[in-house]
């Protein structure tokens, strides 16, 4: 909402500066997020005194010497007839940009150099006066900034009005707050809206508007008829006829007001409707009465298939859900949203039909959404205008219209329907105010704050006004909200009023003792943090990419209204996001990529395929993508080898241990396309895989790890309005199982190596299993340290070498025992697997 500082002062004649108003509104009402000086284009103009002047014969020109405070008198040629010796004028030095968009240049005229320009009001954009230059009544020294001398340079305050306070979408609404905060009384709407010194102000004020003619659904006056066929969409509708107007450009004061509100000035009639909207918060419309069939206005639903060309020139398709303004034949405006082109006021319009209405907020909202057309009017109707403010707005509009466009009111105001019922009174206890704010605000203050912004406050008892006492904590008030405050329905709404008007900064901020929470840390937060720490320690970078992917409808949940049609689905795997991020890095020539994310995936789609549940099953997972050099390059080592599958497997084991501390981890050959599956406590929790990327030839292979950390179920905790913890004590997490100390050996170990010929299709893991079982309890360690294929090794075989470490807990092992164990192992391998030692 754009608020003009000057216009605000017309409503409430306070003496604060614009900065003070900004701070006051931000602290107590709504944030002022913009502060714009409207005549910043005049910032470089100064005042200058004419110290010599000489008429040029047979021309309008005069040669002048001007003191602009610079210390040197400047020669200036002027074409105005009213240059007066010793007078002060607005002065543009050469180089100054004029409001009209051209620059003042130094130039020679008839052998006389002109070093700038003495300006008229019109040249400064201050009015239409162009008979001569603008003589200033000022004692300021030459060289003083023009803006500090002239009472121009309004300030526009841009107020961030939130959806609960539509009353602030108007100058009158903001003025009410300023009035309450400064204790300066408001002026009447007409006084504030029609400056007493404006041309035609007297005529406007002289219009006699009788009592409005009230009807349920149909009324007629001034030759026009109003029929309200859609009472739901339009609970109340006011019309009036003005005949004999002259459409013309707006006078300066009116143009300044609409422009201060951020609206382009169109003509006097349209500007009046806009000034009523921004001044009083009441959207209104002026129809060219001459274009209305039978001079009739009907408020009805749109007919099926009906269309209307709106003021913006767009042909709109209408539906019967929309409320329209129509004449006897066709729709002429979309109610509460935008007028139609055919009934638009033009230069030749002489008779007007003025509309001031209350349109249903939800109906307006649905219509403007359906049309994709938001206007200043629809914005206010859907938030709710002041239902009691219609008649004031109409009376003000009539006076303004007559003042600026002439004409006369024909007949009377026709009013059909009635304002929606007032809000129910709310009871407020002083004790409750203290309980919420942590500060006791006296009953007197509470009443003062509420009454200041228009609330009615009654003491105990019904009906009668009882004097409200002070300091009684049990005091209970009955509060009725003003018609423009339909956001107030509970005591807490009033407590907010008290708090903000009292001032948040004046409320205490003492820190109090607190009781400990009953809520344990969510296990997935704890796990996620542990996993993240492990991966960062392993040299990986955390990423937080988008979860949107291009999937297929059979297996992926599709966002109903996706942002981008090329990525309409939610991912079913973290690696989907990581792969696209890896490709992004590859296009930027980065090939060493080690990234991870802890994030949600969305499963359960694909019931038909037997894999889904038909509901969204959200899981929190960790995904890892690795590719490129295993280590940063160092001169002593040469190029680092590329990350391979063994890096991925090793990291997967480490990751699984971090994710499931204490659980037995098994990383075993997985089903295609996975390389390995990851098990924790016998449950499959993840996979290791190769990741296929759209990658350049220089890129090394990519590997992925993905582990499910846990489910994040969407199931409700309890029914709406119900609690899920009645009588249930919060579970306390068990302490972690501590690591068990293993006694350090006191006896020496014995080691030997076994190099075995193992067929390619026999997993090394099978060999290890035999080694472990046959190795017995004294086998302390089993380490695969070599794989070799080639010379001396038969085709289809490989040599695998293990180092075995044996230890007896109490004594040194004898060589004989070791040799015996070795032969026994070889025998078991031969018998169970047919595996022989590698000879030679």
């Amino acid at each position: 909402m754009n608020v003009s500082h000057e216009w605000l002062k017309a409503f409430v004649p306070h003496t604060l500066g614009a900065e003070q108003v900004r701070d006051l509104l931000t602290a107590h009402v709504a944030t002022v997020e913009g502060f714009e000086r409207l005549r910043a284009d005049l910032a470089s103009f100064v005042v200058a005194r004419v110290v010599e002047t000489e008429k040029v014969p047979d021309t309008k020109l005069s040669f002048n010497k001007v003191d602009d405070g610079s210390g040197t008198l400047l020669e200036v040629v002027c074409g105005a007839p009213n240059v007066t010796l010793g007078a002060m004028y607005p002065f543009a030095r050469s180089g100054t940009m004029m409001p009209a968009g051209f620059r003042i240049e130094k130039k020679k005229i008839r052998g006389f150099t002109s070093n700038g320009m003495l300006c008229s009001a019109r040249e400064l954009g201050l009015g239409e006066e162009h008979d001569g230059i603008l003589e200033l009544q000022t004692n300021a020294a030459p060289g003083t900034s023009l803006l500090s001398v002239l009472p121009i340079g309004d300030v526009r305050l841009v107020v961030d009005v939130l959806p609960n306070r539509p009353d602030l979408l108007s100058h009158i609404g903001v003025a009410r707050e300023v009035s309450a905060l400064t204790s300066v009384p408001m002026r009447s709407a007409l006084d504030a809206m029609l400056p007493a010194d404006a041309d035609g102000a007297a005529a406007g004020r002289a219009v006699v508007v009788g009592e409005a003619q009230r009807h349920a659904t149909q009324g007629a006056s001034g030759g026009a008829t109003v029929r309200r066929d859609d009472p739901d969409g339009c609970p109340q509708y006011l019309g009036a006829v003005i005949r004999g107007i002259t459409v013309a450009p707006s006078p300066q004061w009116l143009r300044e007001r609409v422009e201060a509100a951020g609206v382009r000035s169109i003509n006097n009639v349209v500007d009046v409707t806009n000034v009523v909207l921004h001044g009083l918060g009441q959207p209104m419309h002026a129809f060219d009465l001459g274009t209305l069939a039978d001079q009739t206005v009907v408020i009805r639903r749109a007919r099926a298939g009906e269309t209307l060309k709106t003021l913006d020139g767009v042909e709109r398709a209408l539906t019967p859900e929309m409320t329209m303004i129509a004449d006897a034949q066709r729709s002429i405006a979309v109610a509460g949203v935008m007028g139609g082109q055919e009934s638009e006021v033009t230069d030749t319009t002489t008779d007007l039909f003025l509309e001031v209405a209350y349109f249903d907020p939800q109906r307006t909202r649905q219509t403007r959404r359906a049309l994709g057309l938001s206007t200043d009017a629809s914005y206010r109707f859907e938030r709710g205008i002041d239902p009691q403010g219609l008649e004031t707005a109409m009376r003000t509009a009539i006076a303004l219209m007559v003042a600026v466009a002439g004409g006369r009111l024909d007949g009377n105001i026709m009013a059909t329907g009635a304002a929606p019922a007032a809000m129910t009174d709310v009871s407020l206890r002083a004790a409750r105010v203290a309980k919420v704010l942590g500060a006791s605000v006296s009953s007197v203050e509470i009443r003062q704050y509420l009454e200041g912004v228009g609330f009615g406050v009654r003491g105990p008892g019904i009906g009668g006004r009882v004097e409200v006492g002070d300091g009684d904590e049990d005091e209970e008030f009955l509060v009725s909200a003003p018609s423009w405050r339909r956001d107030v329905s509970r005591d807490v709404d009033l407590i907010e009023e008290v708090a903000r008007l009292h001032g948040y900064d004046r409320l205490p901020d003492t820190i109090e003792a607190y009781r400990p929470t009953t809520v344990p840390d969510h296990p997935l937060h704890v796990t996620g943090r542990r996993v993240r720490d492990a991966l960062v320690a392993a040299g990986l970078c955390e990423v937080r990419p988008m979860p949107f992917v291009k999937g297929d409808d059979a297996s992926h949940w599709r966002v109903t209204n996706p942002l981008a049609e090329d990525e309409p689905h939610l991912r079913t795997s973290v690696l989907q996001s990581l792969a696209s991020r890896a490709e992004y890095n590859l296009t930027r020539m980065t090939g060493d990529i080690r990234v991870f994310e802890v994030g949600s995936v969305f499963l359960g789609k694909g019931l038909a395929h037997g894999v889904g549940t038909g509901t969204v099953d959200e899981e929190v997972r960790v995904g890892v993508l690795l590719m490129g050099a295993r280590h940063p390059r160092h001169f002593a080592d040469g190029a680092s080898p590329a990350i391979d599958a063994w890096d991925a497997k090793g990291l997967a084991e480490r990751l699984a241990r971090a994710a499931f501390p204490g659980a037995p981890i098994a990383v075993e050959a997985g089903e295609d396309p996975a390389l390995w599956s990851i098990g924790a406590s016998g449950r499959m929790v993840g996979t290791v895989c190769r990741v296929s990327l759209d990658a350049p030839v220089w890129a090394s292979p990519a590997f992925g790890i993905e582990i499910t950390l846990g489910a994040m179920p969407v199931a409700p905790v309890a029914a709406p309005g119900a609690s899920g913890h009645a009588g249930v004590r919060p579970a306390v997490a068990l302490p972690p199982v501590p690591v068990r100390y293993a006694a350090l050996p006191t006896t020496p170990a014995a080691e030997f190596d076994l190099a075995l010929l193992v067929p390619d299709d026999l997993p090394a893991g099978d060999v290890e299993r035999v080694l472990r079982t046959s190795g017995g309890e004294m086998l302390e360690r089993l380490e695969l340290f070599d794989e070799f294929r080639g010379a001396g090794i038969p085709d289809g075989m490989r040599s695998l070498a293990w180092r075995l470490t044996f230890r007896h807990p109490e004594r040194t092992l004898r060589d004989k025992e070791i040799d015996g164990r070795r032969s026994q192992l070889l025998k078991s391998l031969e018998n169970q697997l047919g595996v022989k030692p590698r000879t030679a």
Partner: protein
């Protein structure tokens, strides 16, 4: 061999030995020198000892003493030189110490997570624990339970992405209601997580972003607690700074307040960063609306509470001088590696 011959041989060993020992530059060379000088079988000393047996008996005592003295001198020198060589070997060859050390890959935490971590750390000291909730959420938890009026302009601030009969949560506030339904007061929780809005990517908007929510509910919780706790947080998070609270609106809190901290760039005098206001908006907050407590099955007369929510991405952009929010999502490794600690 005469005694004189013996003496001159011993003296020449005494003279030759030390320079040879000193010349041994490696442990191997040292072994060779030792063997050549005092080796048990083939060294020059053992030759002397053999010759000692050939001397006349009366000369042997003197000769023996001399040989022993030479032996002790040489062995002492050998021992000392060995220590020196061994130390030198341990140090290894001389290196060019201006050359770089061997690096390892540096893992990093995402800048948005860094902010979340820091917020959590500060609130942990004030007794908060961490609660989480689903990103695919029921509309009731996301809107209805939080007192959003249906089909109202308040919804326009939450342009929603829908997922069949669910929504992608537009804020972390649904976790408030889930937590209140699951656990009895006292409640002091933080709820970090990703939220979604139907906002197109631009330098300052993203369709998904992180939020962190806080909730306190118990008997006797007041707006004074809210102000005190959040001010304390701001002082810890931004360093000693001024804060201000100004009226705001959220359907699920009342009174609602926006908290600003004094602009760190201009110290309050106004600059482009703070849009000339001298203040930077940090978080939204307010007293929990009684309707929210009632929707979670709590007695709103007995319990009061406060809540806040903030966007760590915006803080991350500001504190690191990142000009465009999209950089946070790109996962450019060159960007991520800048956050190595």
């Amino acid at each position: 061999m005469t005694l004189d011959d013996f003496k001159s041989a011993a003296e020449s060993l005494r003279t030759d030995g030390p320079p040879q020992i000193a010349a041994a530059a490696t442990l191997d060379a040292w072994t060779d020198v030792r063997n050549a000088l005092v080796g048990r079988t083939s060294g020059r000393l053992s030759e002397l000892m053999t010759a000692l047996g050939t001397l006349p008996k009366e000369d042997r005592r003197d000769a023996g003493q001399l040989a022993n003295a030479v032996k002790q001198e040489l062995e002492a020198l050998l021992e000392a030189h060995h220590v020196e060589l061994a130390r030198a070997q341990q140090l290894g060859p001389a290196i060019d110490r201006s050359m770089p050390g061997r690096a390892t890959w540096q893992g990093t935490v995402h800048p948005v997570s860094l902010v979340i971590d820091e917020v959590i750390e500060i609130f942990r000291e004030l007794g908060f624990t961490i609660a989480l909730g689903p990103e695919a959420e029921h509309a009731w938890y996301n809107f209805g339970a939080l007192n959003f009026p249906t089909d109202h302009p308040a919804m326009d601030m939450h342009d929603t992405l829908y997922l069949d009969d669910l929504v992608l949560r537009t804020h972390t506030s649904p976790v408030q209601v889930r937590t209140l339904q699951q656990y009895p007061p006292p409640i002091r929780i933080l709820a970090p997580g990703n939220v979604y809005r139907r906002d197109f990517f631009d330098p300052s908007h993203a369709p998904m972003f992180a939020q962190i929510e806080g909730l306190v509910v118990d008997e006797g919780i007041t707006f004074a607690d809210l102000k005190a706790t959040l001010t304390r947080f701001a002082n810890r998070f931004f360093g000693a700074t001024k804060t201000r609270f100004r009226p705001s609106y959220f359907p699920f809190t009342e009174p609602s307040a926006e908290m600003d901290v004094q602009c760190g760039v201009c110290k309050g005098s106004g600059c482009p960063v703070c849009k000339q206001s001298g203040w930077v908006e940090i978080l939204g907050s307010g007293m929990v609306h009684p309707a929210v407590l009632e929707n979670a099955g709590l007695d709103s007369e007995r319990y009061t509470g406060w809540a806040f929510g903030m966007g760590p991405a915006r803080t991350a952009l500001a504190r690191h001088g990142i000009p465009d929010i999209r950089i946070l999502y790109d996962a450019d490794v060159r960007f991520l590696e800048q956050f190595a600690r």
